[in-house]
């Protein structure tokens, strides 16, 4: 084939449209929605921006955000973890019981215990998914039941109440460092840490790669087994950590703590722009999703909108978010096909 007959490629001339930014706009969309919502609510009810109100919203977001960070990692890897609510319950009850029996135990031990319980639960999930070759949806639906059953059969009808756990354990959720509550700090550290790992470290990028194309990931020599385990351990450990925070924040814990939480976490992740088919989305997006869901809840309460509308609005929002995501993707694909075609 002679060189002379070949056409000059069109894309040599045109400056490239920067697709990366469009992807990032997904999160900008959430930020925008947040700003509008907060502004509207604040105009109607200035106290919404009061320090107590903001603290409350952040405190309420913190646990959801911690779990959403872990869930985002798993979803980015093209899996799902429906067991987080049960892991939270298991961890919350265990930690509360241990603290009840050992009043002198420091908070760090509680946090460590929760993380460890969650990590073990995550290892089981990850191992079943990878080595058992069982779809994550089936595995974690199964362990969702199993972990919950474990907590129930151990806890029975018992409840650990706020007055039975050590003071410092309860105070932890509300006391602050430089005005920022510990719970919020922990959530921020988790989002930043996991976010950094997913963005800037090899393992994070490999998780994105696995979610983006499992087949190509195998060909690229990525260590699928280790990475799958890591993803589930992160999700499990963060759910365990969430359990400690839950116990500390609410004080009263029983075997049903966190029941049904998994769908809320998935919702936060999806609203936060993490694609359910893996490969895209960010941790801070998931955190924003958690914040948005919480703010919607608080705003609707403050705006004196019938509280029954709240769940419907959240549902509609989730559907909307998925639809918008898809629309953007389709439009990009179409414009690229047209632009690059030689015909």
């Amino acid at each position: 084939m002679s060189v002379a007959t070949a056409e000059i490629r069109k894309n040599d001339k045109k400056p490239r449209l920067r697709i990366g930014y469009v992807v990032r706009q997904r999160e900008m969309g959430i930020v925008l929605a947040l700003v509008v919502l907060v502004a509207y609510t604040a105009i109607n009810q200035p106290r919404f921006l009061g320090s107590q109100s903001i603290t409350d919203i952040l405190l309420n977001t913190a646990i959801l955000a911690v779990l959403a960070s872990g869930m985002a990692v798993v979803v980015i890897t093209r899996h799902i973890d429906l067991s987080v609510g049960s892991v939270l319950g298991l961890s919350a009850f265990t930690v509360a019981t241990v603290m009840q029996d050992n009043q002198g135990l420091p908070m760090v031990a509680a946090l460590g215990l929760g993380l460890a319980i969650g990590a073990v639960a995550g290892v089981v999930n990850g191992a079943l998914v990878h080595f058992g070759n069982v779809p994550a949806l089936v595995v974690t639906l199964g362990t969702m039941y199993a972990y919950r059953g474990l907590t129930y059969s151990w806890a029975g009808g018992q409840q650990v109440t706020a007055d039975e756990v050590p003071r410092h354990f309860l105070r932890f959720a509300n006391s602050a460092l430089l005005g920022v509550p510990w719970l919020v700090l922990i959530a921020l550290v988790v989002i930043a840490g996991v976010g950094l790992m997913m963005r800037n470290y090899r393992i994070g990028r490999e998780l994105y790669a696995m979610g983006s194309s499992p087949h190509a990931a195998g060909l690229a020599g990525i260590r699928i087994a280790r990475n799958t385990l890591v993803a589930f351990v992160i999700s499990g450990a963060l759910a365990g950590l969430g359990g400690v925070l839950y116990a500390s924040r609410f004080g009263t814990v029983d075997a049903s703590s966190g029941n049904g939480y998994e769908l809320q976490v998935v919702a936060a992740v999806v609203v936060g722009g993490v694609a359910v088919f893996g490969g895209s989305g960010t941790i801070w997006g998931a955190g924003l999703g958690a914040l948005l869901l919480t703010v919607i809840g608080s705003a609707l309460a403050v705006l004196d909108i019938n509280q029954f509308w709240q769940q419907a609005i959240v549902g509609a929002l989730i559907v909307l978010a998925i639809g918008a995501d898809r629309l953007v993707a389709v439009r990009i694909a179409r414009s690229l096909r047209k632009r690059d075609s030689h015909v």
Binding site: R47, D56, G157, T252, N259
Partner: protein
Amino acid sequence: GGTSKGDDDGAAGPASTASADPNAAIKEGLKIAFLPKQLNNPYSDVLAGGGEVAVGELKGEYKLVGPNDAAASSQVSYINTLIQQQQDVIGIAANDPNAVCPSLQQARQAGIKIVSFDSDASKDCRDVFINQATTQGIGESLAKMANELAGGEGEIAILSATPNATNQNAWIKVVEEELKKPENSKLKLVKTVYGNDEDQKSFQEAQGLLQSYPNLKVIVSPTTVGIAAAARYVSSSNYKGKVAITGLGLPNQMREYVKDGTVSKFALWVPSDIGYLAAYAGAALASGQITGAQGEKFTAGKLGEYTIAADGEIVLGPPTEFTAQNIDQFDF
């Protein structure tokens, strides 16, 4: 044609035709089962504990079963199981007065006596109802405490259990009536919210109330879960001292908040006595001493003699008010 609301299709429910024999001896070995709203609730635990004591005194067989969530339908399977196990008495705190009804009817057809307590089932599907206090009495007491804590005027709000909870709704209705009276005319009930008897939900509902109503003076929570959660939130927020919490609570759960000043006054009956009375009423029914008709009398162990009021209601007695002074005398 067709059947629409209001058409009376002659709802069929078996009417009790048996007559009472006040002198009948209490049978031994009666199988008495307790089915509270949900299992993992300390109030339920204390309550059923009283029942266990009574069943022990009556030399019966005690059993405690129940769902983990307070959904309307989840008690039904348990009733069915208890029918299969041929219990003699079922004591139930109904999550929904109607949802449990068909099953309770079946139980009665199978000869099982039904004692509802704490939260009533529909009148025609139980034999007697153990009311912790008269609805009127509790409602008045709640309104009175709210008035005192608000200093006679200002905004108050109610944090209730589930939206369908029979007893809470009845009390709230009385509170609303009370507020129309002249001495309460400066009190304004701004909102009623529901924490579903879940700790977390109640906690967040309390938050929402305080945000929406900055001038709120009192939160009245006629449920033990709600009052504990609201007190915990307020004690850890900067609303502490500005907003008073009152309602119905367990002394053990509230002790901390009474001591730290968040709560100065709340009320409750002695829950274990409800269970205790329910067990004795059940035994009396199963032994034929009573049938549930108005005016019948029976003796409930250490609690003494009780008379059945209209609609098969048995009232335990007036609620106790707890304050910093007396709270240490109670342990439940």
